[in-house]
Symmetry: C2
Subunit: 253 residues, 2 copies
């Protein structure tokens, strides 16, 4: 029995600047059904507000409060642990970190900085990680790649892995597939983990992450999905659907 739904955004609702066929209608039907839902994303190239605006332009009707991001989880963690982070994130996300004390950093926070993943910026982050054994390494995701309009592209996980390898420090992951991150989203829905279905196109971050956190999961064959990804699912009871429309049809039938 499914009482709540978590939906990934990029590759599930849209790719690049285009909504996936049937996705607008699927979200609309979900809103009319008596099921809690929330959009859960590791996208750290944009703020929640910017995500909401783009979704609106694509025809989706989504409340700002229904978007749960790795960035908000990271900000919570930084405040609770009173960290002074060196921040390497996308320039559109700077404002989210602008009120933090970042002098004499005792942590490095990594987001998907895209073109700002230059050698120099990565090296600066590396040197801060190497300054002191106690310096914390926080990353807002561990995704390998995502689907852009012109093909697969390197995601934050690759650069997290690079700094982990060089520094010998394991990053604390704030986004999917972190169990804590899924459980925070489940809490937001007011459900138990086993009552919640995660719908995503990333077999590792979305599907296996959710399953390991005790949720149900559905892999959709859109976005970054590649043939054979279903063979990488870590349990036998996951669902597979052609797209988010088919996944929600099956649920509401």
């Amino acid at each position: 029995m499914v009482r709540g739904i978590l939906l990934d955004l990029s590759g599930v609702l849209y790719v690049g600047d285009t909504a996936i066929a049937g996705a607008v209608d699927a979200v609309s039907r979900l809103r009319q059904a008596n099921i809690s839902y929330c959009f859960i994303t590791n996208t750290t190239r944009r703020t929640s507000l910017s995500i909401q605006q783009s979704l609106t332009e694509l025809g989706f009707s989504i409340k700002l409060d229904d978007i749960f991001t790795a960035c908000s989880a990271a900000l919570d963690y930084i405040r609770i642990h009173q960290l002074r982070p060196h921040v390497l994130v996308h320039r559109d996300l700077y404002q989210e970190f602008s009120t933090l004390d970042v002098r004499n950093p005792n942590a490095v926070v990594l987001g998907d900085a895209a073109e700002d993943f230059s050698y120099q910026n990565l090296n600066t982050a590396f040197r801060i990680l190497m300054q002191d054994n106690t310096t914390e390494f926080i990353s807002m995701g561990y995704n390998r790649y995502f689907m852009e309009a012109d093909g697969l592209s390197l995601d934050l996980g690759a650069f997290t892995a690079a700094l982990e390898f060089a520094s010998g420090k394991q990053a604390i992951i704030m986004g999917k597939p972190s169990k804590d991150f899924f459980l925070q989203a489940v809490l937001k829905l007011g459900c138990k983990p086993e009552q919640v279905l995660m719908i995503g196109d990333d077999v590792e971050s979305d599907v296996n992450g959710a399953l390991r956190a005790g949720l149900q999961a559905c892999l959709v064959k859109t976005g970054k999905y590649q043939q054979g990804d279903e063979d990488k699912i870590c349990t036998a009871n996951a669902q597979i659907a052609d797209d988010v429309g088919a996944a929600i049809d099956r649920l509401l039938r």
Copy 2:
């Protein structure tokens, strides 16, 4: 009994633009003794000729033929396997790859591209790796970091790890700590592996790599050496010396 010596370059003979104290003299004494030697480096920011010229300016007297690089090993591999590589290397190394057929690539070759490790260049390499399961991934090193004049800096290993993580493909490593690479250098000296001492500042790439290939090894406390590195040596019979001068003193006494 030591009959041959392999010496690492950066961090052992020099750091940045400065020779390490006693290193020029140590190489000079080695030349006068009846011991084969060879300089073995993963440095892929420069050609062997450029390395030789800089060493000469620093006061070292070293023959071009005595420098064995990851780049020459990679070029051999590419020719033997008739690969058409997409090459992401330092711009000073382009000429070394200029005669290869690189159309319709069936391999990616990674060197230490330094500032050319941009998001876009890494993403291009990633997309070629993902095109086809048979596309080979060759990297000219797996070093985590190296010592520059202004501090530790990210080395090729970090970017190799990033592309391995994202693509799910394991790189074939052409430089240290690859066993094949050490054995090629040993062959060049005309010795048996157990007769050869490797002197280096990188506990993983130089020391443990050499020990695993059946050589002797000496860790020097210069360059990228950090306190506690000696505890990371994988066997009990490695040597430790303050610098290359002390290591060669001990050997020639």
